[in-house]
Chain length 430, copies 2
């Protein structure tokens, strides 16, 4: 199966492993960690070394996705001492389920998982594990870098704080973060941050170091700074430099920096570090199996738009809590009204069209979540190299898929992913 | 109580928070994290910022001792999914126990804990917690930086591998690490690494950046490198540069670099990363409550002489396993013969005298542990800012004391610590 032989690179929230357009992709087998042997000796050979200078390149990124904390500072998201919420297992023959891929060829769930550079997949049906698979050295206890799935945690925490009256979506950002007065966020309502409809000049052209994505990567510490670097050395200082371009509220344009601003607002409104909120309000309550962690910059700021690392099963517990309307493990995590507003009402589908994501036709974006607006009422969180939490309420299904595919963009796999979601929804109902 | 008003700085394994000699010390209250407010806002103010540039300074080091992973790359030491080995609690009035301090004044265990900048203490008697206290924002689940306590884990793992025939203490280091042929370790037997009797020029003069300790701190990433730095960028490359000075086996001289070499030998002999050995052989077997972690350098090398972080209770479980002769939680961790050789037979007390540690008169050092050779048969692991695991077999007592005192040297507190050990041994027998 070679589903993804040649593709075009699409725009991405956070490009970490960019390939040239229309480049021939390596087969998943050729870039498996077992085959590559990265960092497997003491010390690694030069050829097998992964460090901050190449952790965003391919195939080294495959290793970094499971070992980020070994390259960068991180803050723990403790799951605490409460009993694990055991997910009952009811294995079905999901892997061999046959379906038509996006090219009209027959494939199976197992083949799709492999061909899409999958590291882990957990499928819950009515809260029971019906399919679980790991590859590429990943284990059930390995925290995987989630990239923009991180945003969806930040977004729901912000929406919950708004529900509790601690954040006013109609207030200006500067009510919470006066430091942003001179930036694009100076006259922006919080709602436009939550839904990424605020107008900020933030270009992501990976061949042009004058575009703002480079400033973000250097300031955050995601990429090593060039010699003689004089730029900002933390995320918040970098955000202050970004300027307005266009009109707030006019249309959705996906920009990671909005999530960083939203996280800043969340910390100010709650007076808690994002990692502590995640631990106290989510990880300690859901009976998680493992601690999660988040990358932090040089002043301890978590990368609230890209830096979360967690295991597939713990993400499945989170998804199941959403599917059940905000309760799981005997704990209410989010108000049902927050989830209904986010997932049922969703975002503005007209404004979404401005985002230039034709592969997500019909979607909306709200509170940092993607709503499919399909017949099943599905919604999802999505990271740039194939990390996804997909919830299908009608099928009573939650899918967590973690991957490390070679193209920095959800568009790379999206047509095929939609086919797989539909196939899984069929398969679990068998 | 001002037990430590003025002291002289003594030599230290790893100086992280050096003060000038005979400087007046801050009172513990004045450098409590609650008072300092370090890193407590989003972002921190400049005055309250802790980052790699000042994490080895005082009082910032107090914060770093509980938050190291937020500044540097680390590797997880997973405790796994096994049930926690619950330590029964049998609180006794240990804290108010009165004893004579090293100046002949009356004090109490509580006062000693506070005056010595204690962050945590757990005292076990016959395996039961009889005294447990936390201060300075530390919690039972906080992993604390252990500095040279790390060495004692490396040393016992090496001794166990020797017992299993996987390391030959009489072989040359180069049997396992041929890369060290041109260094001080080129003609050194492994035994002289394990006991720090190998002759290597490694000076620690914190006012002189030409001494080797600076190279170690810069290569490892413990300290930020100066502008234009051209030196080594990882620990193993740095070790290769160190040269012989004197005769191997002549005398004990405490040098952190021996522990790094020993860890290298352990990785080569076991073909496992030090963190994985720690997880599989120790942390997953002892019913630990929390994951531990270790700082790694730019190529993933753990700081096997200084980089371990763990909670007080988990260290108490480790100490209790030692006290019970290698078994705890239904698991055998070390052969009894390994522990008898280390703790009962101990090291060479004559060779120990070369080490220039008069405050440790009568001690020996063997397999990276300190043996007191007192009537109780006590032994201990010790870190530079007051981190200790102290085992007193006769009193059936294990003490874990974690601190962040302002002087980089065990000599700072040692006379008083010996008084406290004796008092605790009396108190637990009440």
């Amino acid at each position: 199966m070679h589903l993804f032989k040649k593709i075009a690179v699409v725009s991405a929230a956070l490009c970490v492993a960019q390939l040239a357009p229309a480049q021939t992709l390596p087969s998943p087998e050729s870039v498996s960690l077992d085959k590559l042997g990265l960092m497997s000796t003491f010390p690694p050979t030069d050829a097998q070394r992964v460090d901050l200078s190449n952790s965003y390149k391919y195939p080294q990124m495959r290793f970094a996705a499971q070992h980020l904390r070994e390259f960068v500072p991180t803050r723990n998201i403790r799951h605490g001492s409460a009993a694990v919420a055991v997910l009952p297992v009811d294995n079905k023959s999901i892997g061999s389920f046959v379906f038509d891929d996006d090219k009209g060829n027959k494939t199976t769930i197992d083949e799709w998982f492999k061909a899409s550079y999958g590291d882990a997949i957990v499928v819950l049906h009515k809260g029971r594990i019906v399919y679980e698979r790991y590859d590429n050295q990943m284990k059930p206890w390995t925290p995987h870098l989630l990239f923009s799935v991180t945003k969806s945690f930040t977004g729901l925490m912000a929406a919950q704080l708004a529900h509790e009256g601690k954040i006013d979506p109609n207030a200006l950002v500067t009510k919470y973060v006066p430091e942003l007065a001179g930036s694009a966020w100076g006259d922006m309502p919080v709602r436009d941050v939550m839904d990424m409809t605020g107008a900020v000049r933030f270009r992501e052209v990976y061949t042009d170091p004058t575009t703002e994505i480079f400033g973000y990567n250097w300031a955050s510490g995601l990429m090593p700074r060039p010699p003689g670097y004089q730029g900002k050395t933390n995320v918040y200082d970098f955000l202050k430099t970004l300027q307005k371009e266009g009109e707030h509220g006019a249309g959705f344009v996906y920009r990671t920096v909005h999530s960083e601003v939203l996280g800043w607002i969340v910390s100010r409104a709650s007076n808690k570090h994002w990692a502590d909120l995640m631990s106290e309000n989510i990880w300690q309550k859901l009976g998680m199996e493992e601690d999660a962690h988040v990358m932090v910059d040089s002043v301890g700021t978590p990368l609230q738009g890209a830096g979360l690392n967690a295991t597939a099963r713990d993400l499945a517990r989170f998804g199941e809590m959403l599917r059940r309307g905000g309760e799981f493990n005997g704990q209410r995590i989010f108000a049902k009204a927050v989830l209904d507003d986010t997932f049922v009402k969703g975002g503005d589908r007209e404004k979404f069209k401005a985002g230039g994501m034709p592969f997500r036709a019909g979607y909306s974006y709200h509170n940092q979540w993607w709503m499919l607006h399909n017949a099943d009422g599905a919604y999802e969180a999505s990271g740039v190299h194939g990390q996804m939490i997909h919830v299908n309420p009608a099928a009573e299904m939650v899918v967590v898929k973690l991957a490390s595919h070679p193209v920095a963009g959800a568009g790379f796999t999206h047509a095929m992913t939609l086919k797989a979601w539909a196939a899984l929804a069929q398969a679990v109902r068998q």
